[in-house]
Symmetry: C2
Subunit: 209 residues, 2 copies
Amino acid sequence: MLQLYFAPNTCALATHVALEEAGADYATVRVDFRSNEQRGPAYLAINPKGRVPSLVTDRGILTETPAMLAFVAQTFPAAGLAPLDDAFAFAQLQAFNSYLCSTLHVAHAHGRRGYRWADDEAAFAAMQRFVPKSVGACFELIEQHMLARPWVMGETYTVCDPYLFAVAQWLEGDGVDLERIPRVIDHRRRMLERPAVQRAFAAERAPIS
Amino acid sequence: MLQLYFAPNTCALATHVALEEAGADYATVRVDFRSNEQRGPAYLAINPKGRVPSLVTDRGILTETPAMLAFVAQTFPAAGLAPLDDAFAFAQLQAFNSYLCSTLHVAHAHGRRGYRWADDEAAFAAMQRFVPKSVGACFELIEQHMLARPWVMGETYTVCDPYLFAVAQWLEGDGVDLERIPRVIDHRRRMLERPAVQRAFAAERAPIS
């Protein structure tokens, strides 16, 4: 059975929702960021990068959200979560997901994880101040160029949708002007109507047992 | 015919080499970073992100290196550049490429493109000072955990190899201690022996006509 290592309010939500949409048989394992569990030896043995998510499969462990999303789509083809027989359309899907991981998520991370790119408190503060602008610019690019409707890729719901939904959880915390991105906000609202999203959300917010 | 928009010494080299390895019919178009052509209206009409590479196809335009590399592998299956019939192995390949774009390339970019994440000269200098450490840590993680031999994925050469080769061009400029990453250096040396790499390199270094 698949096991998804996650932490609440991270991009792991994307794969979590995708697994729900796919009807996969999986379990979740919560990594406790408050105790820095992601940097402890037990978790580093699973993912030496010390990040979530990780997906344990019977073949080995996968990391990186775009790779995991394509894996879920390919492993559960009946769910129709990606255009698996069309290399161009699949590449468009992957380009969207790649933009989220390499540009949008990175811009967001400068708010609280500046230590990845400097060792200077003043620089951390400068990065933090810039987050509304850099993350806002990413979402405006998505709004204007990358978000077909009703779903990211158009008529068909794909693994791009839970990924956009996951990063759109950060909008308010990142100080982005929501009025400039009405399509993104509408997408986020419609995602919340999906039972798979509701189930993943509820599971991530459950008290730690 | 495919058209690859590139600039020398960028990650576009990965897709350039992959197209050569695939035996694709393609042309290259050089984008002049010195005149900031990537931010001009003509190029923004091709790629509104203002970055290279972009790949123009008869179906439309693709961006983002991991997406383009998977597209090349899927479009030219006879070249055997990815395990297309094995979702887990394909996800491992994609996880490697995703790490390069979202973590290694981003760390490198803090050396000269700090304006993406702050608007303060002192912060730019702090980011620049940190590049040997952050980029070095990425390459050490690759060295220790992600680089099978002889190629990234093991016995079979894949699209991971030109991507690693492309970012390994930045090692000396980023001040990385080469003695800590002998596998990476050996990989870079062996890549240079491949005719496809030699052809792509020569084409990128040709004088502008």
